[in-house]
């Protein structure tokens, strides 16, 4: 099956090209079927999407007004040609591209932008929180011009728009049932401008997508004709499927040894640095870790080399890179000036001696998430260091559902928990506000319970300062302030590694550095991939 299929096709192509070369050459250039998988289920409605799998669908089926540019930096237009910002920063007017077609064939206009926004805020799910409270209103100026009014200057606004996907208002209105704003329709269909349209969608099984030939940005010649995004495949299944050439790209969550085995048997790995990080989150409200010196002691007692060693998939590829602080490399506010914390037991003991707790008070529990088994080794590495300097550290595991419930109160939030956080927008605000602002406390992202006026002030300033250079300074200062406060031990920037079938070309994944880091899933742009037929 593996080889004969390929041979058959080559034979067929030869035969056809001999007969009617010119006529068929176009269709012969089309790509084949791309098959990939993700762990969580896929959400096809842009007003409900939040997860990574959802992000893959959104990236390909819908477009936003703006997008992250290749190589990083401020956002650039996508469905918007360009825009003007008023002097006070509260009015933004977008000029929209003309001639963009939805999957239905309808023309994309300002009405669709207005409808999409009203729909997002009406359902109040998904990424609606990015705009909630900031946007006063939206209005259509003319058929290809639309204006957002903000309540006050909001610097992350443009970055947030990356997650605001435009739907086909005419199609959704035509398919509305019981005033559901087309929710039922979008649970199995698509109404976007994206390079792919959904042909079948079962949130628990797979989403099938087909090429949208009239895509306004064009599609690579050998881009997949069809894409099947499967959900919740078991590791041995993925391994077998890739070996049998029945699967093309794995999810990041495939166990490291399985990725290594796939790479070892002639297929390849792609590494993508993602906008986020792995953290040991420290509950700063509970003794003994409410004392910064106790936290610092832990930071120096952590054997970072051993930790980074666990990320190694193959000799060349590691699924991590050491983090300096909460803001990952490549994001606004990342600063080389912030010193890297090194494993240093003398320093650790020094800090511990300054801590107001000692001896029997130094009981800490390190929690790892039951669903993410490799976290256990990290917990053990930290335990080892902590025990060496005099902590009495225990390691426990919690299922995600219990953990996410426990973190809603400071007294039940674990002393130390291991969590990965990914930025939802390319703006640092999209990552750190939810972690450190006192108003965002009580979620698993903010398991540190940082209730600090100075930090709040910096985060607020970051949001309302329009001047780009000033913002950079604010976030660099913030980075240093957090490192000083040590509410987290910074394990690693978030690095994802995907196993890929050798025949697939996906420059956005394989040369991800050129495409900038990934907040959600823009590296999964199918139209830029090449799949042999």
């Amino acid at each position: 099956m593996k080889f004969s299929g390929g041979k058959m096709r080559i034979f067929k192509i030869n035969l056809l090209s001999l007969l009617v070369t010119s006529l068929f050459s176009l269709s012969l250039m089309a790509g084949g079927t791309l098959r990939l998988d993700e762990v969580a289920i896929g959400e096809a409605d842009p007003a409900k999407a939040t997860d990574f799998a959802d992000g893959i669908i959104m990236e390909n089926v819908y477009d936003a007004l703006v997008t992250e540019p290749q190589g990083g930096g401020p956002v650039v237009g996508k469905l918007a040609k360009d825009w003007e910002v008023s002097n006070d920063g509260t009015t933004i007017t977008f000029h929209l591209h003309e001639g963009v077609k939805f999957h239905s064939g309808n023309d994309f206009t300002a009405d669709d932008v207005v409808y999409s926004y009203e729909r997002l805020m009406g359902l109040k799910l998904g990424w609606s929180y990015l705009f909630d409270g900031w946007v006063k209103g939206i209005k259509k100026i003319d058929s290809h011009k639309v204006q957002f009014d903000l309540n006050e200057p909001y610097a992350p606004f443009m970055s947030s728009l990356v997650r605001f996907y435009i739907v086909d208002s005419a199609t959704l209105k035509a398919n509305e049932t019981d005033g559901d704003m087309g929710q039922a329709y979008l649970s199995a269909n698509s109404a976007g401008t994206g390079a792919y349209s959904i042909t079948a969608h079962d949130p628990n099984v797979e989403t099938r997508m087909a090429k949208h030939n009239k895509y306004f940005l064009g599609i690579a010649e050998m881009a997949p004709n069809e894409v099947i995004l499967k959900y919740n495949l078991d590791a041995p299944t993925v391994r077998t499927l890739i070996a049998n050439d029945e699967h093309d790209i794995s999810s990041n969550w495939l166990p490291t040894d399985v990725k290594a085995a796939i790479a070892d048997s002639g297929d390849k790995l792609a590494k993508v640095v993602s906008a986020g990080g792995w953290y040991f989150k420290i509950n700063t409200t509970r003794a003994p870790l409410d004392d910064v010196n106790c936290r610092k002691a832990l930071a120096y007692a952590l054997d970072y080399d051993s930790l980074v060693g666990t990320f190694q998939v193959t000799d060349d590829i590691a699924a991590g890179q050491k983090a300096r602080g909460p803001i990952p490399q490549g994001m606004i506010g990342y600063s080389e000036d912030v010193p890297l914390v090194e494993y240093n037991l003398d320093k650790a003991r020094d800090y511990l001696s300054k801590c107001k707790y000692s001896g029997g008070d130094l009981d800490v529990t390190i929690n790892w998430i039951a669903e993410v088994p490799f976290e256990e080794s990290w917990a053990l590495i930290l335990q080892q260091g902590a025990m060496t300097i005099g902590y009495n550290a225990t390691v426990e595991t919690l299922p995600w559902a219990v953990f996410s419930e426990n973190v809603t109160k400071p007294e039940t939030t674990p002393n130390i928990s291991i969590v990965a956080v990914q930025a939802q927008t390319p703006d640092p605000d999209g990552l750190i506000y939810n972690m450190y602002h006192s108003a965002a406390a009580g979620t698993w992202q903010s398991a540190e319970w940082v209730q600090d006026d100075k930090i709040d002030a910096m985060l607020n300033a970051g949001r309302t300062t329009i001047d780009a250079q000033k913002r950079v300074e604010i976030y660099e200062d913030f980075q240093q302030a957090i490192v000083d406060m040590q509410p987290d031990l910074f394990i690693s920037d978030l690095v994802t590694v995907y196993a890929m079938r050798d025949e697939i070309k996906a420059p956005t994944l394989e040369n991800s550095a050129e495409y900038g880091f990934s907040t959600m899933a823009q590296n999964f742009s199918f139209r830029l991939m090449e799949v042999p037929n």
């Binding site: 099956m1 593996k2 079927t33 098959r35 289920i41 959400e43 409605d45 409900k48 939040t50 997860d51 109040k124 799910l125 998904g126 990424w127 609606s128 929180y129 909630d132 649970s187 079962d202 949130p203 628990n204 099984v205 099947i228 499967k230 919740n232 495949l233 078991d234 041995p236 299944t237 391994r239 077998t240 499927l241 070996a243 049998n244 029945e246 669903e371 299922p399 995600w400 559902a401 219990v402 996410s404 419930e405 809603t408 956080v421 939802q424 939810n434 009580g442 979620t443 698993w444 992202q445």
Partner: protein, 323 residues
């Protein structure tokens, strides 16, 4: 009884830690969004009010929204249940067609080599969990031999027949799409085999012990004394008495497969209700948990009922005492 189960499940599902609304809305949802969603799911109401909404929904054929798939649970269930039903029917066929004859042979030729071989097979089947079989079968037949597919109900290019029963094999036969039938059969063999092996072991052991017991009965000796041939005794005269107690257990085994299917469904990416139910628990998807459990409970009850009726029909002692 089912009402009792529904109340029990309804309460247990709500005791499991975790906030379904928060799980559903993702990490970044604001408290306001969570509250609004909780209201929509009636989670802020007292539990008896929630139960009332649930029962009201059921009477209208509406099992509520799944926070996991964000679809109506009724849709989910009607999509995933037939897949599992098809799987367990096939697994049960293997269990009966292989396990029972194996048990008959073993019981008939007690302590001979065929008995020892069959006991070894049964023991292996019983002690090895089905997901181990699943991975094992996958490695052999899909990875090394590459003769059977590993994932899903159909190949990626095969279009499922229009739904009649939801069982692809049956639907494709009804519609005359035999190429689809063959493709579906290829896909079902490994998961069904993995699922059936442990039950098969039990079926064969059970049949063996019941056959052995029956073969010690006086009426078997009397049958021989009256010139019955051994084949007739094995297939009819001893089989019927031996199979009646076996049938009851086989019925339970069949129903239990519905619950055991989930790991097999995971390994073979089989879009079934067992896998859905486990995901529902992980996501604290209250409506889906309740619906899945109710379906499994109902399935148990119906299977038991059918088995009881069949046994009563086959066993004159029960049949005649009822009159």
């Amino acid at each position: 009884m089912l009402i009792g189960v529904s109340i029990l499940i309804f309460i247990i599902a709500r005791i499991i830690p975790g906030d379904p609304a928060r799980m559903a809305l993702g990490p970044t949802a604001t408290q306001e969004m969570v509250e609004q969603y909780r209201d929509k799911l009636h989670l802020n109401d007292p539990i008896h009010v929630q139960y009332w909404f649930f029962i009201k929904g059921i009477t209208q054929g509406d099992l509520g929204e799944s926070v996991y798939t964000k679809r109506n649970v009724t849709t989910d269930v009607s999509t995933y249940f037939p897949a599992t039903l098809e799987l367990i029917i096939f697994a049960a066929l293997i269990m009966v067609c292989v396990g029972v004859p194996l048990g008959i042979l073993a019981g008939r030729y007690k302590d001979k080599s065929i008995d020892n071989i069959s006991r070894l097979i049964s023991l292996l089947g019983v002690v090895t969990p089905s997901f181990v079989w699943a991975v094992f079968l996958m490695i052999i037949f899909a990875f090394y031999l590459d003769i059977l597919p590993v994932a899903g109900r159909l190949s990626q290019d095969t279009v499922a027949p229009d739904k009649i029963t939801g069982l692809i094999i049956i639907d494709s036969i009804i519609r005359g799409q035999f190429d689809v039938t063959i493709d579906a059969l290829k896909h079902i063999i490994l998961p069904a085999l993995a699922l059936s092996l442990s039950a098969l072991g039990q079926a064969s052991r059970l049949t063996r012990s019941n056959i052995t017991e029956v073969y010690d009965k006086q009426y078997i000796e009397m049958a021989r004394a009256y010139g019955y041939n051994e084949f007739k005794i094995a297939t009819k005269y001893a089989l019927k008495p031996a199979m009646i107690p076996t049938l009851t257990i086989l019925g339970l085994d069949f129903a239990a497969m519905l619950g055991n299917a989930f790991l097999v469904e995971f390994v073979f990416a089989w879009p079934g209700i067992a896998k859905y139910g486990v995901q529902a628990i992980l996501y604290k998807d209250l409506n889906a948990i309740t619906a899945t459990t109710m379906i499994i409970a109902t399935f148990f009850v119906i299977t038991n009922l059918i088995v009881d009726l069949v046994v009563a029909y086959l066993n004159p002692k029960i049949r005649l005492s009822g009159k």
